[in-house]
Amino acid sequence: MRTYCADSIVLRRIDLGEKDRIITIYAREQGKLSAVAKGARRPGSKLAGASEPLTYARLFLSTGRDIDVLTQAEIRESFTGIKQNISTVAYGIYLLELLSSFVDERQPNPELFDTLLSSLYVLESGADPEITARYFELQLLIDLGYEPHFDRCLRCDKPIGREKVAFSPALGGIVCPECGVPPADAIWVPGAATTYARALRNIEPQKIKDLKFPPAALRDLGLMLKWHIRYRLEYDLRSTDFIDMVAKFDDNGDLAQMR
């Protein structure tokens, strides 16, 4: 048995037996891994808070035969700002789920860890959660080598203007209208939407909260990235359904009438 320390973000937890939990964490130096937090559901347990998703903590673990064991934890940040609001929680959980779906167990990637952590701090600072999510998606795709190309037409290399263009996840970018029929998986978006993608590619995270995108551009950018991510993962994430559900529930007015 060996003990080690892992600066981690808790991605997920599931209950185990009567009082324990299994947590999935993303550790800066160790990558994604699972560990058992014994007694974490018992009131007074020092591991309870540190085994909550959306927590940044220094965890102390010991290697076990089947699964590593969480022995001690120092919470660095519990992101109470994110947890104030159902919509920011939904986006926070989405970032965790997105990362978790893209990375394999025990593949360290300190840069991606830092991107996740800073994106969570951006969310905590009160930035637009939708813009923050688009930023994280783009940075994650870039980091893993799946960057969609928004600058030029993939067929003729012409820069993208304001006219409608086709975005194809299979090609990994844009085809302009002069280049004939786009691949079957393409969706048509205004060329202007790609400028917002370029803006998010090179921005310092702390400047995200000053950004304001036109709602239509944000929607189109979101659509392209969602399409691209779905093509890569081959499935939809639960937390995106949740985000849609919350938005619909807030809009449909049923509750507003009761208020």
Binding site: E18, S78, K83
Partner: protein, 198 residues
């Protein structure tokens, strides 16, 4: 392992129960084989009876075998205070403290982005409907201090605030990430007494 067919069926039924692995399922099944027929029938009847007679109370959504649950029909309870919990077992935990004399509202779960459980899957609409007659003056949100429990409490508080009721959240004494069901009575009493307005 090879069982006679009816025995294999019983083992596999037990295995479907939460927290029961193959070993425990086998132990339970062999236990059933050893008990006499009357005992076995009583067990089978008890299972069928809860399925047949236990329903959700139409007011608070706790389990009951009456048209309205015992707490909702008790005239001596304080109808101005409503304690919102996620599961029926949380009502049991609160009642054990003998400290709370108000009414309950059982949500039937918590909001969970991880599990795709949204507000409309819970009895939140029904909670707001209970506010219309103006009898309720204070709401105590007693969901677990977990990310799901906090999100649920925050969401409900946001809906209730404009109605002018006092909204508080049990907070202190309950550690973050803990499970209300496992809190001892002293902890729960503390949590109730130290609730803070949100």
């Amino acid at each position: 392992m090879h069982y006679a067919k009816p025995l294999a069926k019983l083992v596999s039924e037990f295995e479907k129960l939460p927290g029961i692995g193959p070993k425990s399922a086998q132990r339970l099944a062999f236990h059933i084989l050893r008990i006499n027929e009357d005992e076995a029938r009583e067990l089978a009847n008890a299972v069928m009876d809860v399925k047949q007679y236990i329903k959700l109370c139409p007011v608070c959504f706790n389990y009951t075998d009456q048209p309205r649950c015992e707490i909702c029909s008790d005239a001596k309870r304080d109808r101005s205070v409503l304690c919102v919990v996620s599961e029926p077992r949380d009502v049991v935990a609160m009642e054990k403290t003998n400290e709370f004399r108000g009414m309950y509202h059982v949500l039937g779960g918590v909001i969970s982005p991880m599990d795709g459980i949204g507000p409309e899957m819970l009895k939140i609409r029904e909670l707001l409907a209970r506010m219309t007659d103006g009898e309720v003056k204070e709401i105590i949100l007693a969901t677990n201090p977990t990310i799901e429990g906090d999100t649920t409490a925050m969401y409900i508080a946001g809906l209730l605030k404009p109605l002018g009721v006092k909204v508080s959240r049990i907070a202190h004494g309950m550690p973050v990430g803990g499970d209300m069901d496992y809190a001892d009575q002293a902890t729960l009493i503390q949590a109730l007494q130290w609730r803070r307005e949100i």
